[in-house]
């Protein structure tokens, strides 16, 4: 029981991070209908930026943790958004209006490019940083097993909840959100009505990248190690989460992320840890077979 509770906490933490990355996939998919394969690598870049920023702070003897976290978040979000913008501008915008597969291939190329750029400029070795947030709250002191929620876990969950609330507000209430949704439904009509479609799409990429940057900082804080390959698996998992929840749906992305996180940690804890990826994908296949448009996705009826 205590063990399960601990897995629940771990799963939620993991799921929150997947969810944050998944939103980037889902938003981009919603607005231009493509799988942004480079998104996982954008997340990886953000983790490296976070590592560098933490190291600079350590060198400058900054000890206040809130201050450090704020600084790292701002720096990481800034630079990562720039990467999100640049990727869209160079690799996807020239391909708008061409076939569905062209941007996908371009994205895969971009992903390979980013991975290798980071490997070349930052080195192929795993980068560890000293723990930023240690300790946590003991929830249940069982004689055999102690259930604990780490400060970093708490930070991740709370940040995610705040971000999600803010994000939902932004998409539903602000002019940008309105333009974003308009472009999602009908890009041509939106542009006829004076929405700057190119800019809206750029902002969408930057927003997705910003959320991935938050996830990148959180991963750095939580695990304390980063390497140039983390983008791939995280990206795939997050994309799976987006599809599971119903691609194009924001709550779906979050729900999908949480589910994947929970499945993974429970599967790894109780069954075979090696096969946790198999479990994730099998469940995805099952869900899609029963609900071909994901859990919260709108069923796509093609009018004939």
């Amino acid at each position: 029981m205590a063990y399960a509770l601990q897995q629940l906490i771990n799963g939620l933490t993991l799921g929150a991070m997947y969810g944050l990355i998944a939103i980037g996939y889902t938003m981009v998919y919603g607005i231009i209908g493509m799988i942004n394969f480079a998104h996982g690598d954008i997340f990886m870049v953000s983790a490296f930026i976070a590592i560098t920023a933490f190291t600079i702070l350590a060198a400058a003897d900054v000890t206040s943790i809130p201050l450090a976290l704020t600084f790292v978040l701002i720096v990481s979000i800034f630079f990562t958004s720039a990467y999100g913008w640049a990727v869209e501008r160079t690799a996807y915008r020239p391909l708008r209006g061409s076939t569905r597969l062209a941007p996908l291939i371009s994205a895969i190329g971009m992903s390979i490019f980013l991975q290798n750029t980071v490997q070349l400029t930052q080195g192929a070795r795993v980068k560890p940083i000293p723990p930023v947030l240690e300790g946590g709250i003991v929830l249940w002191d069982n004689p055999t097993f102690t259930v604990q929620i780490g400060w970093s876990q708490l930070l991740i969950i709370v940040t995610t909840v705040i971000l999600m609330t803010g994000f939902t507000w932004m998409i539903t209430q602000t002019p940008f959100g309105r333009q974003q949704r308009a472009c999602e439904q009908d890009r041509t009509m939106a542009s006829l009505l004076g929405v700057n479609v190119d800019r809206t799409i750029s902002y969408t990429f930057m927003l997705g990248a910003a959320l991935a940057a938050v996830a990148g900082v959180m991963v750095t804080v939580y695990y304390g190690v980063v390497d140039f390959f983390i983008g791939f698996l995280a990206g795939i998992k997050a994309f799976t989460a987006a599809v599971l929840g119903g691609i194009g749906s924001l709550p779906g992305a979050m729900l999908g992320g949480l589910l994947i996180g929970l499945i993974e940690s429970f599967w790894a804890a109780y069954l075979w840890a090696e096969y946790k990826d198999v479990a994730t994908f099998s469940i995805l296949c099952l869900v899609l077979m029963l609900r071909p448009s994901g859990l919260l996705g709108r069923p796509e009826v093609e009018k004939v």
Binding site: R298, P299, V301, V304
Partner: protein, 292 residues
Amino acid sequence: MSAHDKGTLLSVRKLTMRFGGLTAIDDLSLEVPAGKITGIIGPNGAGKTTLFNCLTGFYKPTTGTLRLAHPVRGELRLEKLPSHRVARDAQVVRTFQNIRLFPKMTVLENLIVAQHNVLQRASKFSIAGIFKLPGYRQAERAAIERAAMWLERLKLTHLADDPAGALPYGIQRRIEIARALCVDPVLLCLDEPAAGLNPRESAELNELLLYLCGELDIAILLIEHDMSVVMNVSDHIGVISYGRKIAEGTPEQVRNDPEVIKAYLGEDEDEAEEAIARKIAAEGSNEEGQPA
């Protein structure tokens, strides 16, 4: 207009189709005689295309039966067949309101693809095809000849080797009809074939339709807003409004039916407003049930 009666080909009984809260077809019954042209008219959103979708297996009707008296295979229940079997076994073939050709393939290829089942059988799991055995070669030649015949008949021969998607709208409509004819239909369902045609083209269409049912004995179900087409060629017309059949009869009878005039023009302003309100209410509930 064929003179003698050959009985009923398709009988639609108490057909209802609901999308969430919206009833697109409401308890509709209709008889389609063999070897004749049956027109279906009605205002926008009346449920005409939905009727076709139910007939051809793209939608499963909520309730109701669709019985086809097939000249060879006997009675078939269309509502129980998947869409490809409706075309293959029941030989009920349709065209689409928004043209659906295979745009990158040439006109000829479009017509050959329509004969897929015949050719596939002749190719014996592709083995006869791969080794170019005589049996398959003969079948392929026959398919090309058949396609060429329809191309000739529809004045498309000079475009045979052009990609279909690049051609003008009116021509694409004709290609779609030619393609449907290559499936060898007993019942041909045409969804607004005259939309976007100029007067000369629609006159040619009239002629073609009369030829198809007069000479080849193909029954035709025709959805059309262009009255010059429907009124001139139909033997029989059904009028649908809000999913219900509101009138039925010869073109002459339908033209003078007060219900029909009301459905198209609205009797007075109150009536029209009420109609609009009804439609909005229906669509509102539609959105709840199935967000569009």
